[in-house]
C-alpha cells in the first residue's frame, strides 16, 4: 500500500504570467502548495485570484512560466505537449462545471473516451467503463445519451469518466455550478464516497457549503496563497453564496 502521507502534488514558487499587449498579467505569483495522497482539498478565491490558472497548471493543461510542479513523483514543468497529454490521460480525472459530455455518444462511450487515448482495447474498455458507471450508480443508464439523462446523472457520467483510468487525482472545477442544491448534495455524496475509497480530490469552488465537504480549504488572493487551511464560516448561506475576503 502507498503511504497516505506521501505528497502527490508539490509546487514550488509557481508563476504564470500572461503578456497582454504592453502589460504583463501575473496570474500566479509564487505559489507553494502541497497536497498529500488521499486528501480532499478545496481551492477557493475570488474571480481574478488565479484559481483557474492554478487549476490549469495542476491539471497539466498549461505549463508554468517559472517554478516547479511535481505530480506523483514526476516533474511536470519540463514536459512537452505530448507528454502532458499522457499525464492528463493517466494521472488526472477532470470533472467540469458544464459536464462536457459528447452529446451524440452514449454514457458508456463517453466514459470510454480516456481509455481510447490510453490505447486500451475495445473489450477491456467496455468492461472498465461499465465498472466505472456502476461505481456512480448508473449501471442501468449506460446506453443513454446525455440528453436522456438528468443534470445530476450527467455529472455522475462525467465523474465515471474521470475515474475510469484510475487517476492519481480527480480535479473538479465547480462541479455543482450548474446543478440545483439537492442535486449538488447528491454529487457531493459521490465525491465523499470516492474520497472514502482512497481517491485524492481537488475541487475548485466559490461556494462555502460545497467547500465545507473538503478536509482542507486553500484560499488564493491576487495570485498568491492566502491560507493553506482556511476556516469556513460556520454559518452556511444559500448555495452560491460568494466568497468574500474581509
Amino acid at each position: 500500500m502507498q503511504n497516505t502521507n506521501e505528497a502527490i502534488i508539490t509546487t514550488h514558487n509557481l508563476h504564470k504570467h500572461y503578456v497582454m499587449g504592453a502589460e504583463t498579467v501575473r496570474a500566479l505569483n509564487g505559489v507553494d502548495v502541497e497536497i498529500r495522497r488521499n486528501e480532499y482539498v478545496a481551492i477557493m478565491g475570488p474571480s481574478g485570484s488565479g484559481k483557474s490558472t492554478l487549476m490549469n497548471l495542476i491539471g497539466c493543461l498549461d505549463s508554468p512560466t517559472e517554478g516547479e510542479y511535481v505530480l506523483n513523483g514526476q516533474e511536470v514543468q519540463v514536459l512537452d505537449d505530448d507528454e502532458l497529454a499522457r499525464i492528463r490521460n493517466r494521472e488526472i480525472g477532470f470533472v467540469f462545471q458544464t459536464f462536457n459530455l459528447l452529446p451524440r455518444a452514449t454514457a458508456l462511450h463517453n466514459v470510454e473516451l480516456p481509455l481510447i487515448y490510453a490505447g486500451v482495447r475495445s473489450k477491456e474498455r467496455q468492461r472498465r467503463a461499465s465498472a466505472a458507471l456502476e461505481r456512480v450508480a448508473l449501471g442501468d443508464r449506460m446506453d443513454h445519451k446525455p440528453n436522456e439523462l438528468s443534470g445530476g446523472q450527467r455529472q455522475r457520467v462525467a465523474i465515471a469518466r474521470a475515474l475510469v483510468n484510475d487517476p492519481s487525482i480527480v480535479l473538479a472545477d465547480e462541479p455543482t455550478g450548474n446543478l440545483d442544491s439537492s442535486t449538488s448534495e447528491e454529487i457531493m455524496d459521490v465525491f465523499e464516497s470516492l474520497h472514502a475509497a482512497g481517491q485524492t480530490i481537488i475541487m475548485v469552488t466559490h461556494e462555502f457549503d460545497i467547500a465545507s465537504h473538503a478536509q482542507r480549504v486553500i484560499t488564493l488572493v491576487d495570485g498568491k496563497i492566502a491560507s493553506h487551511n482556511a476556516e469556513i464560516p460556520t454559518f452556511v448561506g444559500a448555495a452560491g453564496h460568494d466568497f468574500h475576503i474581509p
Binding site: 497529454a85 492528463r88 490521460n89
Partner: protein, 414 residues
C-alpha cells in the same frame, strides 16, 4: 482500432446532418459519377467496337477491296480525296483477279447493294431498306446466321432465282402475323420469294443487317443493279490472322498488274480491314481515357474545397469537443488523425455514392442503348483513390488547425 473509431464518428456526423453532408459532397459525387459513367461507357464502346462492330462490319480475318476508302484515319487532304473519287468502279472481272491471286483464301465473296425507299408485302411496308446482291459466300464472310428457312445457295446464284433472305426487322414489319417463308416481298419494282430470315442482330449497326434483303448477285445484276457487272465490295476471308498481310499483298499486286499501274502510281482501289476502323477508334479512345480523369479532377478540386470549408466549420463548431478530448489525454496527432479520418470518410462516402450513381447511369445506358457497359477494377480503384485523395488533401489544413488548438481556450469556447 482508433481508425474505426474515427470512421464511426465521421459516419455518425454524416448521418446526423444528412442534407448538409449531401451538399458538401455534391462536388465529389458529381466528379466520381462522371468518371465512372463515362469510363464505363467508353470501355463498353471499346469492347463493342473491338468485338462486335469491327467483326460484324468487316468479318473476322477479312479484308475488303473497295473502290475508295470508307473510313479515313488521320488527316486526309482534299487532293487525296479527289484522287480516290476518280478511282474506277470495281467489276466482276476484278473478282476473278482476286480469286486467282488468293487461291488459299477461305472464301472470296463479292456484293453490290442499293437502297430503296420501301419494301412491301400486301399493305405492310418497311421504309429504307437495302438490297444486297451477294455471292453465296457473302453470308459466310459476314458471319450472318439464318434464323428461319435457309440461306442463299450456289444454285440460286447460277439460276439467278428471285429469292431473298430478309433481315429480322423487315420480317417483323412485313409479316407480323404470318411466316414470311415462301411469300413474296416487293422492292424496287421486283418480287422476291422469301426463303429465309436472318438472325436478329440488334444494337447499333443492327439496322444494317436487320433492314437488309439479300438476294443472289446474279439476280441483282440482272434486275436492280445500276451498273452492269458492277461490284461494290470484294471480301476475302483468310483462315488465320497471320495470313492477312501476305494475302493482302498478293491481291494488291494482282490488281495493280491487272490495271497496268506503274510502280510510281498509287492504287486506284482501296484495301480495307477492320484495323482501319480500330485505329480510328483507338485514337479517340486514347484521347478520351486521358482527358476524362483530367476533367474529373477539376470537379474534384471544387469538391475538395467544399469539404475543406465544411471541415473548417466543423472544427470551429466542435472546438469545445476538441478541448475536452485534449484534456482527456488526446495528443495532437490523435486530433489530427481524427479530423483527417473524418474528411477522408466524408469524401469516401462521396466517391462510393458517385460510383453507385455512375454505375447506375451506365447500367441505364446499357439497357437503353446497344452499348454494353463494362468497367474494369482499376478504374474503380482510381475512383476510390481520387476520392480518398481529395478527402486527405482537403482535410489536412482543418485537421492541423484542430490539432493546434490550445486545450484551455478550446474548453472555454461556447
Amino acid at each position: 482500432m482508433r481508425m474505426w473509431e474515427g470512421i464511426r464518428l465521421a459516419l455518425q456526423q454524416i448521418w446526423a446532418q444528412k442534407l448538409k453532408s449531401f451538399f458538401s459532397l455534391v462536388g465529389v459525387i458529381i466528379g466520381i459519377t462522371f468518371l465512372i459513367a463515362v469510363i464505363t461507357i467508353v470501355e463498353g464502346m471499346n469492347t463493342y467496337v473491338r468485338e462486335d462492330f469491327a467483326g460484324s462490319l468487316f468479318g473476322v480475318n477479312t479484308f475488303t477491296v473497295v473502290r475508295r476508302a470508307q473510313i479515313q484515319t488521320g488527316r486526309v487532304d482534299q487532293a487525296e480525296r479527289r484522287r480516290q473519287a476518280r478511282n474506277p468502279d470495281l467489276l466482276l472481272r476484278d473478282v476473278d483477279v482476286v480469286v486467282d491471286a488468293a487461291p488459299n483464301a477461305l472464301h472470296v465473296a463479292y456484293s453490290a447493294d442499293r437502297s430503296f425507299g420501301e419494301a412491301r408485302y400486301g399493305s405492310n411496308s418497311r421504309r429504307n431498306v437495302r438490297v444486297i446482291g451477294g455471292s453465296p459466300e457473302y453470308q459466310l464472310v459476314q458471319g450472318w446466321k439464318i434464323e428461319d428457312g435457309r440461306g442463299l445457295t450456289p444454285i440460286d446464284e447460277q439460276r439467278g432465282l428471285k429469292v431473298a433472305v430478309i433481315g429480322s426487322q423487315i420480317a417483323e414489319r412485313l409479316f407480323p402475323t404470318t411466316s414470311p417463308i415462301d411469300n413474296r416481298v416487293r422492292v424496287g419494282g421486283q418480287r422476291f420469294r422469301v426463303i429465309g430470315v436472318f438472325e436478329k442482330q440488334g444494337g447499333f449497326i443492327g439496322n444494317v443487317r436487320d433492314a437488309s434483303i439479300l438476294i443472289p448477285f446474279s439476280t441483282f445484276n440482272a434486275t436492280l443493279s445500276r451498273r452492269r457487272n458492277g461490284v461494290d465490295e470484294i471480301s476475302v476471308k483468310v483462315e488465320v490472322e497471320d495470313l492477312m498481310e501476305p494475302t493482302m499483298a498478293v491481291v494488291e499486286g494482282a490488281l495493280r498488274r491487272n490495271r497496268g499501274l506503274r510502280p510510281t502510281e498509287e492504287n486506284d482501289f482501296h484495301l480495307q480491314t477492320s484495323n482501319d476502323l480500330l485505329s480510328a477508334w483507338n485514337t479517340i479512345n486514347t484521347i478520351l481515357l486521358a482527358a476524362i480523369p483530367g476533367l474529373v479532377s477539376v470537379s474534384l478540386v471544387v469538391g475538395g474545397i467544399v469539404i475543406m470549408n465544411i471541415m473548417l466549420l466543423s472544427v470551429s463548431d466542435r472546438t469545445r469537443e476538441i478541448g475536452l478530448r485534449k484534456s482527456l489525454g488526446a495528443k495532437r496527432r490523435d486530433i489530427l488523425f481524427q479530423f483527417l479520418t473524418e474528411a477522408s470518410t466524408l469524401s469516401m462516402v462521396g466517391s462510393l455514392i458517385g460510383i453507385a450513381v455512375g454505375l447506375g447511369l451506365a447500367d441505364l445506358v446499357d439497357r437503353l442503348s446497344p452499348l454494353p457497359a463494362t468497367i474494369s477494377v482499376p478504374w474503380l480503384v482510381l475512383a476510390i483513390v481520387m476520392g480518398m485523395g481529395v478527402g486527405v488533401t482537403s482535410g489536412i489544413y482543418p485537421a492541423y488547425r484542430a490539432s493546434k488548438l490550445d486545450p484551455i481556450e478550446a474548453l472555454r469556447s461556447e
